[in-house]
Symmetry: C2
Subunit: 249 residues, 2 copies
């Protein structure tokens, strides 16, 4: 099975999509065959990968509705980033998927849909929405690594325990292959004593070893790359600090 990483956090706006796209960009630069699964109803990753989110084309919501092993195989699409980067698109009906808790195999439908599909890739990245509901549970059940993106703020740190609890629950009930891939600090401001204090607090909470080094700095170029729907690694020297941060992972 390919390395399948679920990128998550209940806290909104911390950079889940940014980290997913950054890791996909690092894989793009190395020519690794990568699948991005957009599990967020906002479908920001889908759009930044050059694909227009739509209820009329196959996507993650359909793959989960199918409840069939390998169903995602016929639903993945090439991205706008070239042939090595593929996508299972997000769409607004993923909001409705959050309520399918009473359906058969509700928690493992994404894992089922990706069965056999992930083997064709070197890396699979699942971009979760800002929630700890059924969709994120599906993302964790389908992954072998959980990557928690954290912004060094007071709300950011308060949100960590509930996420780690969910990772633990999914490991127990649905997926013994799941491990914590790590915790990555994002949107780290250049100079801020508060952010440094929070980063130190985080290391105490989870142990310094679990925290990915280097963290991802706050850089305007990241917003630019999203807007231009391009891999950050395509910005060459200008983006070297950010690209290096993603390369190291």
């Amino acid at each position: 099975m390919a390395s399948t990483i679920a990128v998550l956090n209940q806290k909104g706006g911390v950079g889940k999509t940014t980290v997913t796209l950054g890791l996909a960009s690092a894989a793009w630069a190395r020519g690794l065959r990568t699948l991005v699964v957009d599990l967020d109803a906002q479908a920001n990753a889908t759009w930044s990968l050059g694909v227009s989110p739509s209820l009329d084309t196959w996507g993650t919501s359909d793959a989960m509705l199918a409840n069939k092993a390998g169903a995602a195989g016929s639903m993945i699409a090439p991205s706008g980033w070239g042939e090595s980067i593929w996508l299972l698109p997000g769409s607004s009906d993923l909001t409705i998927r959050e309520t399918d808790v009473k359906r058969a195999d509700a928690q493992i439908r994404l894992a089922k849909a990706l069965t056999g599909v992930t083997d064709q890739f070197d890396l699979v990245l699942i971009d979760c929405g800002p929630s700890l509901g059924l969709n994120t549970t599906n993302g964790l059940a389908a992954a072998n690594g959980a990557l928690l993106v954290v912004e060094p703020t007071v709300f950011g740190l308060r949100g960590i325990d509930p996420v780690l609890d969910l990772v633990e629950n999914v490991w127990e009930q649905h997926n013994r292959g799941l491990e914590l891939a790590g915790i990555v600090l994002n949107r780290v401001p250049g100079v801020s004593s508060d952010a440094e204090k929070r980063a130190a607090q985080l290391a105490k909470m989870v142990g310094a070893k679990a925290i990915w080094k280097p963290s991802i700095p706050l850089r305007v170029l990241i917003n630019e790359a999203h807007a231009e729907r391009s891999p950050i690694h395509s910005y060459g020297q200008r983006a070297s600090e950010i690209s290096n941060a993603f390369d190291r992972h």
Copy 2:
């Protein structure tokens, strides 16, 4: 009925809680009796208002489960900001409330629970989570104004239409008293041509009249006030720019 404002956006981390707390702080400074309803499973507003989120105390989730007119009356609690600011606390089980779509009166349970309760207040603020699911629908059905918080970024602008669509749907199906209270730009960086471009784009999308002036600048003090669980207006002169921005609304 008091002015009841639902503060919302599907996009995470744009400042829904920040704006809710900022408006509550402006009301606090004027001695207005204010109720904050925390409709987010993260319960950031609850914590910043000096109350520890807990599954063992009454909160918004219980008020919705009760499905009884005025049920929130016995569940509201004084906040840590003094007697003029009250709270209906958030808690982690609000994630489960998102799946109650098949229960009777699913979309108007919060409105029912607040019936008669909002009359005791000058202002009611509902802090919604980063979702357009059942909880946010309840928030809109219980409000007479919808306030959309937007960050001037490409993802920020892409997320506006789905939110306005939901406001429209809730007006049609559940609450003819609902209006768009406005759109407030938050986390506006000091100098950024991209943010200025996005702000201009926003004005074209929704009309300049709908956008609250002034917007809320990006200021470290905001994070500090959250961490110290204090109203921004209690920081006096240091916070005057931010306080003024909230006072004007």
